[in-house]
């Protein structure tokens, strides 16, 4: 896998740059959506895949980012200022949402974040003075770069792609730093991590805040891409979808979200012919994947290229000891 890496990456790069010139506008829209959702999924992969903190609220952060950009640009702010502010707002809210994670774990944390997602949805729907409620917000301006407008689909795709490349490079660099090691330690054995001097509290909050920031930045691109946002776009559905992308792609693997988002965006389109049966087929595919390869599509690839090694034993846990 590692030896295949550089060439696979080069091919992916050529495809990502060349593809929009071959596709019709709707195809370009779909790959732009892929780029945007990949950013959100990278965020969730950071929180859930690397740091092991279950979050069912990533869709809410995409929503917060999207509404921030839509409202601020409508009020005349420049796009990139609104975009950064949306991310910053999500950093703060994500940090705050991390506090429950210091108390509860796993399923309980899933419920807490799920409740938060519902709360955000209700605020977006009911606070009409701010968000225009169920009517939604249409026609968010796309940014112009150095005097060039990115109103056409292909130009905006390249904006999304450039931001995806930038953010994934930053994430990759962070995961290589001692922080990356600390996040994995948080997932694998928080008690041991604490005894080795890791301030698990700060790293947990940071994992939530950074993951949420990426969600918010994805939202900042989602609004100008779709050109219409309403509260329903950011309900639990989107959070589940993002969760699916992370898990199907390969949770805790750097390129997992890229693959997962590709599947989650393209598969429904290819299966249009199956009409209503599409969800049944999709669900079955996911179940089969989870049964035979819980490490996702990338895990499947790794298995194929490195067949010898046995899976590591489950990490030992310390149930009797109390963490603080």
């Amino acid at each position: 896998m590692r030896r295949l890496g550089p060439s696979a990456l080069a091919i992916a790069g050529v495809v990502a740059i060349g593809l929009p010139f071959l596709l019709k506008p709707f195809g370009v829209y779909l790959i732009s959506m892929w780029a945007v959702l990949t950013i959100a999924a990278i965020g969730l992969n950071l929180t859930l895949g690397y740091a092991g903190q279950v979050s069912m609220a990533q869709g809410a952060f995409v929503g917060i980012g999207a509404y921030t950009v839509a409202l601020l640009t409508a009020a005349g702010w420049p796009f990139f200022v609104a975009f950064i502010l949306g991310g910053a707002l999500c950093f703060v809210i994500g940090w705050l949402l991390g506090y429950p994670a210091l108390r509860v774990q796993h399923h309980y944390l899933a419920f807490v974040t799920l409740a938060f997602n519902t709360l955000v949805f209700l605020v977006l729907r009911n606070e009409e003075w701010l968000t225009r409620g169920s009517y939604g917000i249409a026609g968010t301006d796309r940014p112009s770069l150095f005097g060039f407008s990115t109103d056409n689909a292909r130009a905006f795709y390249f904006v999304c792609l450039a931001i995806l490349v930038l953010l994934s490079a930053a994430t990759w660099w962070m995961m290589r730093s001692p922080w990356g090691r600390a996040f994995v330690a948080l997932r694998e054995n928080p008690i041991r991590a604490l005894s080795l001097g890791l301030d698990t509290r700060r790293y947990t909050l940071m994992a939530f805040a950074l993951g949420s920031t990426l969600g918010g930045l994805a939202g900042g691109l989602y609004a100008p891409l779709v050109q219409f946002i309403e509260p329903g776009s950011f309900s639990l559905n989107m959070s589940f979808n993002l969760l699916l992308m992370v898990i199907v792609g390969g949770s805790g693997r750097f390129f997992g979200p890229f693959v997962g988002a590709l599947i989650a965006v393209l598969l429904p389109e290819w299966m249009r012919i199956a009409e209503g049966y599409y969800l049944i087929v999709y669900a079955m595919l996911v179940m089969v994947l989870m049964v035979f390869c819980p490490t996702g599509v990338l895990g499947l690839f790794e298995k194929a290229f490195r067949p010898k090694k046995a899976p590591p034993p489950a990490p030992a846990t310390l149930k009797a000891e109390v963490t603080r």
């Binding site: 290589r176 001692p178 090691r181 330690a185 054995n189 991590a193 005894s195 301030d199 000891e321």
Partner: protein
Amino acid sequence: MTAVLEVNNLSKRFGGIVAVDNVSFTVNDGDILGIIGPNGSGKSTLFNCVLGQLLPSDGTVRIDGQESTGMRPCDLNRLGVSRTFQLLQVFPQLSVRDNLILAGQEHQGSMTSRLFGRPDAGLGDAADQMIEFFRLSHLAEEQAGMLSYGQQKLLDAAMAFMAGPRLVLLDEPAGGVNLTMLGLLRERLQAYHAERKATFVVIEHQMEFVMALCTRVLVLAEGRIIAEGAPEEVRRNPAVIEAYLGH
């Protein structure tokens, strides 16, 4: 001279159960103190109170004369108090080398400087030396989860030493380790003690291991200290024999 570790009148109650009952002892620089006692005598609870994993109900803990009762484990660790666990505690998906770098990285700089610093936090060489010291060189790049139980125990101990601690608390380092590996572990602990003048506190059931390693032994039964002294002395103490074989 101030003691490295000073425990004063420490008690820990869980509801009506008194797990640790008014325990006091000191550990001086360079000591290897063994704590023995039957199952349920409060050894691990005592450890957890000293290490900040549990909050004691009463009493105080001092490290180098500085009160440390109620400090969080990560802050205590940065003061130079390190530990191993009774059950295996390594990070199975990280390589042996990364396990060791992780064990030292939080002692380097601030959180921000770690983000912008070198990927190995400048600890690559130190980790390799530690791997060499614990005879794990052939496994350096393996995932820790792939190692045998005994090798993981060695890694666990190595991690406790990575940050150059002042005081190391080892909770049943010999538990479940075969005799060959046990000999290596004991020999490495003694070598480390001789080289770095570190201070150890060891909880252990394996008597031979305790007798060979420790300079002083403390016996707990039902949460209280019933004997204290040189290993040979303690072994002959009728109260100790009674606690282990009695009832």
